[in-house]
C-alpha cells in the first residue's frame, strides 16, 4: 500500500484491492437449482463463504447490496453496499426554483413522499420567515396527508416483511389496505405518488368537495385491514418464531448509530419529533407514542401496527377540524410567494383553471407579468441556513437548506432516516443465522430511493 499519509493527500483511503483474492473460486446463482453450487462448495471443503446478496434481490427492499461472510449458516460479517439508486436529487435541486424543489424531493423516499415535501416546505418557510403566516387550513391538510402517508408506509413495511417470509396473504392484505389511502391521495393530489402537493407557503390546492367523507370511509377500510394484519401477525407462531429475538438493537446501540423512528422506539425510548420538537401544530393533537422494550424485529412490527392506530386518531382529529373551520385559503397570502394559478380539472386532465387563464391572457397584463415572473424566476429567499426535522415513518428526517439569497437553493441536504438506519445492518445481522438477515433488514424498513437520493 502506498504511503498516502506522508504529504497530506487529498485522497481518501485507497480502494481496497486484495491481491490474495485472485483465483478465489466464485459462483453465480440466479435462482433455480443450487445443488450444483452446494456440491462444488462441499468439494472445495471451504467453510468460510462470502455471499453477495443483491443489489437485485427481491427481499432487499430495492437495490440494496449485502455482502455477507458466512460460516456454515452463521453470518460472521455483514456489510451493506448502497448507491445503486443515486440520482443526484440534491444536486439537481440547486438548479431549480424553490417551488420546483418539491417535485424533486418527493421522489427521494417514494413510499413516504409527503414527508420530504412537508419537511422541505417547512424549511423553506423558516428561511423566508413566514412560518406563522401559513393558513391554518393548509397546516391541517398537511397533517392529514402526512398521517395517511405514515399508515400507507407502515402497511408497505408490514406487507413486504410478511411477503419476504413467504406469507403472501400478509402482503396482499397490507397492499389492499394501502390502496384505500392511495385512492385518497389520488383524489386530493391527482397522483398516487410523487405528489408535489405540499408547496412552500401552503398546499397546491384545497381538498376537493366531499373528500372528508371519502377519508372517513377509507378509515373504516383501513381499520378493517389493520385488524386482519393484527390477526395474521401478532399471534402467528411461524411469524413469531422467525421474528422474536431477531435483529436485536439495544437503546445504546440505537443512540450511538443515530437510529430513530420505530426501531428506536422498539428499544424503549419514546422519542418522536412530533412530541420533542412539534411542527405543523402537532402539539395540539392528541396521540400516544407507542414503545416496546424487546428491541427485536417482532416488537418493531407491533410498534408499527400501534403507530397506524395513533395516526388514525390524528387523522380523525384533522377531519373534525377541517369540517369545523370550513373553506378558507390554503396558500400564504403573500402574492410574491404564492403560486399564482389555481388548478382545475379540465377535459384533458388537471391544469391551470380556465378562469385564471382568461384573466392573465385576456384582461390583466399585470397578472400575466406576475404569473410569468413567479413561475419562471420564482421568489428570492434571504441568505442563511436552516435545519428542519420531521418524524418520518422510518425515523427523523432532517432537511438542511442553505440559501444565498437567490431564487434557487444553494444547497439542499436531506438526512434520510433509511440512509442512517442502514448503518445498523452489521450490528443486527452479525452472529445470527443467514435466514434471519432478511427479517432483520425488513425490520429496519429501508427504502433505497431515500437512502441513495
Amino acid at each position: 500500500m502506498p504511503d498516502s499519509r506522508a504529504p497530506r493527500s487529498t485522497r481518501a483511503t485507497p480502494h481496497v484491492y486484495d491481491a490474495d483474492a485472485d483465483g478465489t473460486p466464485t459462483f453465480e446463482a440466479s435462482g433455480g437449482d443450487w445443488s450444483s453450487i452446494a456440491e462444488e462448495a462441499a468439494r472445495l471443503g471451504e467453510e468460510r463463504i462470502i455471499v453477495n446478496m443483491g443489489p437485485q434481490h427481491p427481499s432487499t427492499h430495492g437495490v440494496l447490496r449485502l455482502m455477507l461472510e458466512i460460516d456454515g449458516e452463521t453470518v460472521t460479517e455483514a456489510r451493506a453496499g448502497i448507491g445503486y439508486l443515486h440520482t443526484g436529487i440534491e444536486k439537481n435541486m440547486e438548479f431549480r426554483t424553490w417551488t420546483q424543489g418539491v417535485t424533486y424531493c418527493t421522489r427521494m423516499d417514494y413510499v413516504a413522499p409527503l414527508f420530504q415535501e412537508a419537511a422541505y416546505c417547512l424549511a423553506v418557510e423558516k428561511l423566508l420567515g413566514i412560518t406563522d403566516d401559513i393558513p391554518e387550513r393548509a397546516t391541517v391538510i398537511r397533517v392529514l396527508m402526512m398521517e395517511l402517508n405514515r399508515i400507507a408506509s407502515h402497511l408497505v413495511c408490514l406487507a413486504t416483511a410478511g411477503n419476504e417470509l413467504g406469507a403472501t396473504t400478509i402482503m396482499t392484505v397490507g397492499f389492499t389496505g394501502r390502496e384505500e389511502i392511495l385512492k385518497i391521495f389520488e383524489l386530493v393530489t391527482g397522483l398516487r405518488m410523487n405528489h408535489a402537493y405540499i408547496r412552500p407557503g401552503g398546499v397546491a390546492q384545497d381538498i376537493p368537495p366531499g373528500a372528508l367523507d371519502n377519508v372517513r370511509e377509507a378509515l373504516v377500510g383501513i381499520r378493517h385491514y389493520l385488524g386482519q394484519l393484527q390477526d395474521l401477525m401478532l399471534a402467528n407462531p411461524i411469524l413469531k418464531a422467525r421474528a422474536v429475538g431477531v435483529g436485536n438493537l439495544s437503546l445504546t446501540a440505537c443512540m450511538a448509530l443515530g437510529v430513530t423512528g420505530p426501531v428506536l422506539r422498539s428499544s424503549g425510548l419514546p422519542y418522536d419529533v412530533r412530541k420533542a420538537a412539534p411542527y405543523c401544530g402537532y402539539e395540539t393533537y392528541e396521540f400516544d407514542v407507542p414503545t416496546s422494550t424487546d428491541a427485536d424485529a417482532f416488537s418493531r412490527i407491533v410498534v408499527r401496527l400501534e403507530e397506524c392506530y395513533q395516526s388514525m386518531r390524528i387523522v380523525e382529529q384533522t377531519l373534525e377540524r377541517l369540517q369545523a373551520m370550513g373553506p378558507g385559503p390554503v396558500m400564504v397570502a403573500d402574492k410574491k410567494i404564492a403560486w399564482p394559478a389555481q388548478l382545475a380539472i379540465g377535459s384533458d386532465g388537471m391544469g391551470n383553471s380556465l378562469d385564471h387563464i382568461r384573466e392573465i391572457m385576456g384582461t390583466s397584463m399585470e397578472s400575466l407579468i406576475h404569473h410569468f415572473k413567479l413561475v419562471t424566476e420564482g421568489f428570492r429567499v434571504p441568505a442563511g441556513q436552516v435545519f428542519q426535522t420531521v418524524e418520518h415513518p422510518r425515523g427523523e428526517l432532517g432537511v438542511h437548506l442553505v440559501s444565498d439569497g437567490g431564487t434557487r437553493p444553494y444547497r439542499a441536504h436531506f438526512r434520510d432516516p433509511s440512509f442512517n438506519n442502514l448503518q445498523a445492518v452489521s450490528m443486527i445481522c452479525e452472529g445470527g443465522q443467514i435466514a434471519d438477515v432478511v427479517v432483520a433488514i425488513s425490520s429496519l424498513d429501508p427504502v433505497l430511493g431515500g437512502v441513495d437520493r
Binding site: 481518501a12 443515486h86 443512540m255 441568505a383 426535522t389 427523523e396 432532517g398 434557487r408 438526512r415 442512517n420
Partner: protein
C-alpha cells in the same frame, strides 16, 4: 433636513438590538436577469451585490443558547482547549444556533457536547457539506447537526476548511453514526475526515473522478431538442440568480 425632530424620531425607531453584526461574504452577484453582455438591455447589467450570510451574533443569544454556549466554554476551558481557540464564532439566525468550530478541535467540542450532563447532545443527525467557492481559504464547510433528546434541543456545528487542504478530524469515535455521513461528505465534497475507519466512497462508484456536489462540478445533461428548438441542460440555461 428641515426638522431636527424628524431625525430624532427616525433614530428612535431603530432599537439597539438590531445593530447588524459583521457580515460573512460568500459571493458576489452581478446583473439581475441572468443575461450578460450585449444581451442585457435592462440596464441592470452593472448591478453588483455582495452575497452575505448572517454574521457573528452578539450576546444575549436568547433562550437556552446562552446557557449552552456558557457551559460549552466552561467544559472546554476545563479540558485545556480554551473556548476562544476552539470556537471561531457563534451565529444565531432564524431561531437556530450555529457554532463555528476550528477544524482541529471539532472532536473535543463534539465530546464536550455529548458528555457534559448540562449539554448532553447525545444524538447526531449526521454531517453534510456545503461548498462556498468564493470564500477563499474556507471553501468547504462541514455541517454537523446535533440533538439533545434529554433537554429537547438542537444545534449546528460548522467547520470550514480550505479547498487546498481539506482535512478534518473524524468524529466517528464520538458519534459512530457519522460513519456513513462522513463517507458521503467525502464522496460529494472531497472533505477528508482523518481517522475515519474506512473513508471510501458511498454513493458514487469507487472509481468515480471528482466530487459531484461541489459548485465547480457540472450538473451534466444534454441539450433537449423539441420541434426544432434546442433547450440547453439546466446548468447552462439563463438563470435569474
Amino acid at each position: 433636513m428641515s426638522d431636527g425632530k424628524e431625525v430624532e424620531r427616525a433614530q428612535e425607531k431603530v432599537p439597539e438590538s438590531t445593530q447588524l453584526p459583521p457580515l460573512d461574504v460568500i459571493g458576489v452577484r452581478t446583473g439581475m436577469f441572468g443575461a450578460n453582455g450585449p444581451g442585457d438591455t435592462s440596464g441592470y447589467g452593472g448591478l453588483v451585490r455582495e452575497i452575505t450570510m448572517p454574521g457573528s451574533s452578539e450576546r444575549p443569544y436568547g433562550g437556552w443558547f446562552d446557557e449552552v454556549v456558557d457551559v460549552l466554554a466552561e467544559v472546554l476551558e476545563e479540558g485545556g482547549t480554551g473556548f476562544a481557540t476552539a470556537v471561531e464564532k457563534v451565529v444565531v439566525d432564524r431561531g437556530e444556533l450555529t457554532i463555528f468550530v476550528v477544524p482541529a478541535h471539532v472532536v473535543q467540542v463534539c465530546r464536550a457536547l455529548r458528555d457534559d450532563q448540562d449539554l448532553r447532545f447525545e444524538l447526531s443527525l449526521g454531517v453534510s457539506g456545503v461548498h462556498y467557492p468564493h470564500e477563499t481559504g474556507r471553501e468547504l464547510h462541514a455541517v454537523y447537526h446535533l440533538t439533545s433528546v434529554t433537554h429537547g434541543r438542537q444545534l449546528r456545528l460548522e467547520v470550514a476548511v480550505p479547498d487546498g487542504d481539506p482535512h478534518l478530524p473524524s468524529t466517528v469515535a464520538v458519534y459512530p453514526t457519522n460513519d456513513w455521513h462522513e463517507r458521503e461528505t467525502w464522496d460529494f465534497f472531497g472533505i477528508v475526515f482523518d481517522g475515519h475507519p474506512a473513508l471510501a466512497r458511498i454513493e458514487m462508484p469507487d472509481d468515480w473522478p471528482g466530487h459531484p456536489q461541489r459548485k465547480d462540478y457540472p450538473l451534466g445533461g444534454i441539450p433537449v431538442e423539441y420541434k426544432g428548438a434546442t433547450i440547453p441542460p439546466p446548468d447552462q440555461r439563463r438563470s435569474y440568480t
